[in-house]
Subunit: 361 residues, 4 copies
């Protein structure tokens, strides 16, 4: 069951979305349009859109559009002097996110960012709540270091998120030594307009710019250990191929894993099934009951059939089997724009809310 | 330039296709309809089709259908007493191929088979001509062992073919120690009707029955060494994920490779580019000038754009790059029903023709 | 708001699904698994499946599978002597539906059929509840004619359903004279395994067997007038092209219409928007609040974005515009396996329930 | 057999492509790279690309890229003072084509344009050579009117081209009275990057900006009659729906037709089969032997299977059948970027070459 608003608050926290018109921005709007703890007060976007109605500058990409009260709102500029909400969700493009997000933190805002810019900074939490929610403690050090009254918290790259969620229980128990990944990623991961149909219709593109690097390095921070104000990255070796496939939503990842202390497929399956994640996340509004599900079917997970599990917040694992070279092979699938982007950020904010960090907001 | 018919022959060899109505059978028909050395005399299929016109029992799947002289021919039974051609190409289903192909070999026919049944028999050649054309020498031993006046020669599984072609030059020079593969395979690999559109439209299926096993074991035989009448399989370790993607033709394979004697990416690329394959194959009608091509583009090979290279007989390699865990990563792509099925078998027959094996046929 | 179970009933009506393992059968199971008025007691299928667990003979096609209590149930034969439920939903194939459905009606069952066999019989209602729910009165005549204690009620072909819903308000008010239709139909309309991916991936097939005839003739009965125990078909002229496109769910239909009393596009739009359908259907559990929605966007309806409107029961109309030859052009879209198949049949049963017809069941 | 270069010329005509880097520009480059009459001397594009190597500013979209001699050429500006070739093929965007093409004609160049800007000008030929090659005579009037030493000749919109080719023989013989069209158009018709994959993957978009108007009005000019220096448009009524579908190349068009003098389906089929088009086009290098082919198969034409007929220059017609409201229904398919764009323009130039118009060039 979902918790009440934490901290004896009577009112929802006012929040804003930065970069609200793009693909990830729209997903933020959808998830926040009817959120039990947060009230979506402001939609910010580029200068080009500022002053116009949200409905007039947004090509709504998927499903029913949000209620008229949101579609009719005026877009404002991504400027901390203009945005009044103390909590902002950033779907900004990496080209501008660095400067803008820092300005918001400097101005005392809590920034929940989907951009890559700050993810690998040692004093910025890179968090999947069920996996490493304790990394949020980096905020204290971040504020000290940077003299920010606000703070920045990031969620990971979409494929790193799916992989780290599937591997967290196994790494915690059997310690990964070597990891080979090969992804098949949905077009929504490239935003809108994103991948031209002439490039991907009935095709595979075995390359996504900068993706292999992001996947490899973020994985190690996500599965790292927080100790005395810093995160010690995991130290296993990881190697990735990343591919684009003609799928709308859902990144599918084939993994081959070597462990310090190798489990059998049956033990690994049991471990995945019994895992419930970082305890303080249970009951958070956006957390699914089961962050991980293991399918017994021979041919699952599949993006079309499994991407909506847990409203897009559950990662589905399948084909857990012995490997002839290392120890285990498995396949994981997750929703790249929900769990791997906007939904992950909202869940980060919820966890912050429960530990008192937002009380000043 | 293409060689003349070998052995001072004046006439083409008469050939037949077994299982001529299915997807691979059609590809055989297309490749043999206008072949400089072989004349397609007979089309054989199941009892259900026998006696009917080829056009009436075949749903032609792709491109222009063959000339009327072929489309109008009566289908005959897959029976060595009925088929008169001394050389038969088998596109038979595995459920029947074992028995039928053996009967043809017993009856003195040369059987060029695309079926899996005999591939791993120690005395049956499993051949990609440019890679291991010398394995054809197993035929002598096969005939002695089995008392067959004819013989069976097999081509490999479609994904094993693509992978082995890309790896042969590297294995020959640097000796593979460990190999991780992850495939993205076209729907034509499953034949017709094959994969239902409801299963694969905008989806990925991370499972193909029995494919990982075939890929792993055939690879080792293909890259094995022929010595004194037997093939010593390669002994490196190989681990595969096989996936079906919504692509029509072309299997794309991500590979991560460890070597005894690791090359740099530049050395590997040079080796791949300089490789010309088993010398006696040069000039064979179906052999492309370049069995392997290495693309410099960051995002190639792609099935839609590269599958027709060398009329479907060239494997395109790209993204040759250093690996953080093992030595090299690369991506290979080849046409699964041409190079990986019918075209491979026809090339096998051409090589047999040049070494005198077919002179008795 | 949804009505309570009609007729002061305390318990739900027990129902069965015939042909429960196929694509439409699965949709029936999904819609009935948690229905407020009907309790899904029995799953019937072919002899081949009878006696086995539903989960073991069903390849679940889409979304989360039904609860274990259903997946674990034994399948029974499609035999009125074996099926005990008095109400049966038939997803049977046309090859067997004629005989089996008649046997069930003869045995006193109410048969809600998705098969084409009885649709055009003069004494069998062909019903879209909001459009021609009053045609259910044909049941009395059917029972008299045939001496059946039970009855058969049919829903229409999937594309006829979408077209008739969109046209009903216009025909009622402006009387259609001429109608040109061109459909773009989803692959789920062909069932499972249905359309091979090799046929439809990145392709269009401008032909669906028998579909144009069904669409043309069913439309006229659906929009016909019930009078004194018989239905007088509508008499306008209709001409259709039907095409298969690589879309999963949702039939899109381009229509060009001439009227006796032509409306302007604005009048037509207002008429469509104000239409609420046959009054007794309001409040039925499966009826959407708006059976018809008109989109103002220039490029809607689209199957991917609109097919789920009203849980798949709402037809979306767009591009209502003047025509240069006749009077109006518009595009309509509806969910072919929900509104156009299983959902339509369930809604038929609900309407029957409210008018007392099922009281004897 | 293909004619020799007309007019006793010894050398090929030098030609340039304007807008050479885009999708249609690339198709021009491909068709002209090895043309028997024209030599591709210059590649012109926007200021942004001018001065750079063609290979460096062009994302080659399909198939093997042109020979190095072309890929390595410097792009020049679209300026008649810079382009020296007397014949230019224009793949310019409509936003700039009007001004630029006029400047080239003013400077004495022959402009073969794929842009829409001049198509409907009364003194500019809009030509499909086999259909209305005699309309080229408008050039004289154009030059007089405008005082241009050069001239502009246009090819039609891609869907208008396919429809007009299929209908020309029928209109010539039976005179069309009414025409209803519904198209299913490939994504390549929108250029590159064109349609975002998020919009069209497994979807249909029932709208293409300005396409219905272009299709309706160009059709009437194409099927019009040239008389004494002017073209009298055809006067039948035409109404179109235009739709985008997830197909790479090939526009499929469903047509329903009423005639002054209605043929039976058999007569119409015979007329289509016997039609050979405007006589002077026979033997032109780009003209296919059969501009029209009629398929007997129940489910053809299909873009995937028929788009390459006649190297993309043949239109395939199928499903010629009686209509219940008007007289005939049929389906036509043609390659939108070959026949419907670059190939059509090249064929226009070839016809100009044979009638002496280019002798001054």
């Amino acid at each position: 069951m979902t918790m009440a608003i934490p901290g004896n608050r009577k009112k929802k926290w006012p929040v804003a979305v930065l970069g609200a018109t793009g693909a990830v921005g729209q997903m933020f709007v959808r998830l926040l349009a009817d959120h039990p703890w947060f009230e979506l007060k402001e939609l910010a976007a580029s200068e080009r859109s500022a002053g116009k109605k949200y409905a007039d500058v947004t090509r709504w990409l998927e499903g029913a559009s949000p209620p008229p009260v949101i579609m009719g709102r005026r877009v404002i500029a991504c400027d901390p002097g203009v945005v009044s909400a103390p909590i902002v969700f950033s779907a900004l493009d990496a080209a501008v996110a660095g400067e803008v997000e820092a300005a918001f933190a400097q101005a005392g805002k809590f920034v929940l960012s989907n951009a890559k810019n700050f993810r690998m900074e040692p004093d910025v939490p890179l968090v999947i709540p069920e996996v490493n929610g304790d990394h949020l403690a980096l905020i204290d050090c971040q504020r000290r270091n940077r003299g920010w009254p606000g703070a920045i918290v990031t969620n990971a790259n979409c494929s790193a998120t799916v992989a780290a969620l599937a591997l967290a229980p196994l790494h915690q128990k059997y310690r990964i030594k070597q990891l080979f990944l090969s992804t098949m990623q949905a077009v929504s991961g490239a935003g809108y307009p994103g991948v031209p149909s002439l490039d991907i219709l009935a095709n595979v593109i075995p390359y996504i710019a900068d993706e292999e690097q992001k996947l490899e390095r973020e994985m190690l921070k996500l599965l790292g250990r927080h100790e005395e104000g810093e995160v010690l990255n995991a130290s296993f070796k990881v190697s990735a191929h990343t591919n684009r496939v003609p799928v709308e939503h859902g990144h599918t990842i084939c993994m081959t894993i070597g462990f310090e202390d190798p489990p059998t497929p049956e033990e690994a399956t049991r471990t995945l099934r019994e895992w419930t994640g970082f305890a303080p996340t249970r009951g958070l509004p956006t957390r699914p009951e089961h962050p991980l599900v293991v399918s017994d079917a021979a041919d699952r997970p599949q993006p079309k059939r499994d991407v909506q599990a847990g409203n897009g917040m559950t990662v589905t694992v399948g084909r857990v089997r012995r490997d002839a070279v290392l120890d285990l092979r498995l396949v994981a699938l997750g929703h790249n724009t929900v769990r791997g982007a906007a939904g992950g950020s909202v869940l980060n904010a919820e966890l912050l809310a429960t530990n008192g960090a937002l009380d000043s907001a």
